[in-house]
């Protein structure tokens, strides 16, 4: 399937631009016409993170005339393993600003528009309107569904990529010409079932593998060349080094998208059960330290995975991963005559485990809000955060 070019060509390229883009211009499929279309294109990149970093750099280098960036986050040292648009001196700086500085260095002819607000249902349509194409590299389901629905409503093609550990998925959703994201995944997984990159990790260079395919598709759509990845899903396995392509179809049972909804509620961040369990049973890292200093007799359980425990752990904690709470194996390992205190990395997983634990009759159990990261932050800054 080929599609007509998404963008009308700009009137001309300057002498400097011809020199800069010469390796594109001498490809017959791109040529002056394709490069002028790139110059006229307005592309919005949601998230200047793992996927957004290589995508923004290559879109800029390719000569996309206007790049919008939505990101409300600041650069953290743990981003630098994969977010190559940011550097050491950018730590603490808003990602959108850091990304703009890198883009200006790569291509001064690209106009950068920053959107530093948090994207939500109240501002998405307004922000997206006027862009030719949206490229999404965010890290959560709520934003994925929001971006999809807004793109459907505005009839904008949605270049989508997603990564986890060594696995990547990439596709183009364009409701007018093929399926949208909801046709592929009608509903998000319940909170807690699918780990995020912050919980499960991601191979840094995977961002480039998937991000480069996303840019490749954006360029093709803008210039109207080749077969776009509409209606196909590519699945990359970096360990086996395989790319697999499967078909994506419109879901005949799919509900039409008529407006934006509350996506936090649609996706949930912590399950209702976990929220309820944690409501009156959350202690702070400092309170945990006090319990230790007071010599209280309790049983501290770390519900993360072993490789996380090896990075950093709270002294005296026993490792029993969350999965053992969900399948019930953990309960036999716990003392009946002591209070059980759970913690994880940042508090989500321990809330899920706490819900299961209370269900098994451990009524006085509590968990540590903010997890080991709060411990490092508030109690022992000499320990590493990850």
């Amino acid at each position: 399937m080929s599609l007509p070019p998404l963008v009308e060509p700009a009137d001309e390229l300057t002498v400097d631009e011809v020199r800069r883009y010469s390796r594109h211009l001498i490809i017959p499929d791109v040529g002056m016409d394709g490069q002028k279309r790139l110059k006229n294109a307005k592309v919005l990149v949601v998230g200047a993170g793992g996927l957004g970093s290589p995508a923004l750099l290559y879109l800029a280098a390719a000569g996309v005339g206007t790049l919008g960036i939505i990101d409300f986050d600041v650069v953290d040292e743990s981003n630098l393993q994969r977010q190559v648009i940011h550097g050491q001196s950018d730590v603490g700086k808003p990602k959108a600003e850091s990304a703009r500085e890198s883009i200006e260095e790569v291509n001064p002819y690209t106009t950068v528009v920053l959107h530093k607000e948090r994207l939500d249902s109240s501002n998405a349509l307004e922000i997206f309107d006027g862009y030719d194409l949206v490229l999404d590299g965010t890290d959560n389901f709520a934003t994925r569904y929001l971006v999809n629905d807004a793109c459907v409503l505005l009839n904008i093609p949605y270049v989508w990529g997603s990564i986890f550990r060594f696995d990547g998925q990439v596709s183009v959703f364009w409701n007018e010409h093929g399926p949208n994201y909801r046709d592929l995944y009608p509903e998000p997984p319940p909170p807690g079932m699918v780990p995020s990159c912050a919980e499960g990790g991601v191979l840094g260079v995977l961002c480039a593998s998937i991000g480069s395919v996303m840019v490749n598709e954006a360029i093709k759509l803008i210039a109207g060349i080749g077969d776009p990845l509409v209606g196909r899903l590519m699945i990359f396995d970096a360990l086996e080094m395989t790319w697999k392509t499967v078909k994506v179809r419109k879901d005949p049972e799919g509900e039409p998208i008529t407006g934006l909804i509350d996506y936090e509620e649609f996706c949930g961040t912590v399950s209702d059960e976990a929220q309820e369990a944690a409501a009156d049973s959350t202690i702070t890292a400092r309170e945990l330290k006090e319990k230790m200093d007071n010599g209280e007799d309790f049983y501290l359980v770390d519900v993360r995975e072993k490789h996380e425990y090896d990075i950093v752990n709270i002294p005296g904690s026993v490792l029993i991963p969350k999965g053992e709470f969900l399948n019930g194996e953990a309960f036999g390992k716990l003392p009946q005559d002591k209070q059980v205190v759970l913690h994880c990395k940042s508090g989500q997983r321990s809330a899920e485990a706490l819900s299961a634990l209370k269900g098994a009759g451990f009524g006085d159990a509590v968990h540590v809000g903010g997890g080991v990261l709060a411990w490092v932050n508030q109690v022992d800054p000499s320990l590493p955060a990850y």
């Binding site: 965010t138 699918v194 499967v246």
Partner: protein
């Protein structure tokens, strides 16, 4: 019928880290039941409590999504490949 099943990273805790396993069965339902017999717990990550494929997981036989074939009754030919593709949101 013997088929190979591609297991995504997030379900490899059930398959002792194997990315590909073999299973027996004439239909997808039988293949998943055989998978469950060898890797307890994995089926519940693919099917919901009412036995339907979860809405955030796609199961492909070859390059076709079984939601657009016969679902769990989709006939599995000998030597075909079943792929389990879950939604992930990392970026």
């Amino acid at each position: 019928m013997s088929v190979s099943v591609r297991v995504p990273t997030i379900l490899r805790t059930y398959t002792k880290d194997a990315a590909e396993v073999t299973a027996e069965g004439d239909t997808l339902k039988a293949v998943l039941a055989d998978l469950e017999a060898n890797y307890p717990g994995i089926q519940a990550r693919i099917l919901d409590d009412s036995g339907k494929v979860r809405r955030f997981v796609n199961v492909y036989v070859g390059d076709e999504d079984v939601r657009f074939a016969d679902g769990l009754d989709t006939v599995i030919a000998d030597g075909s490949q079943v792929s389990i593709i879950p939604a992930v949101a990392g970026g």
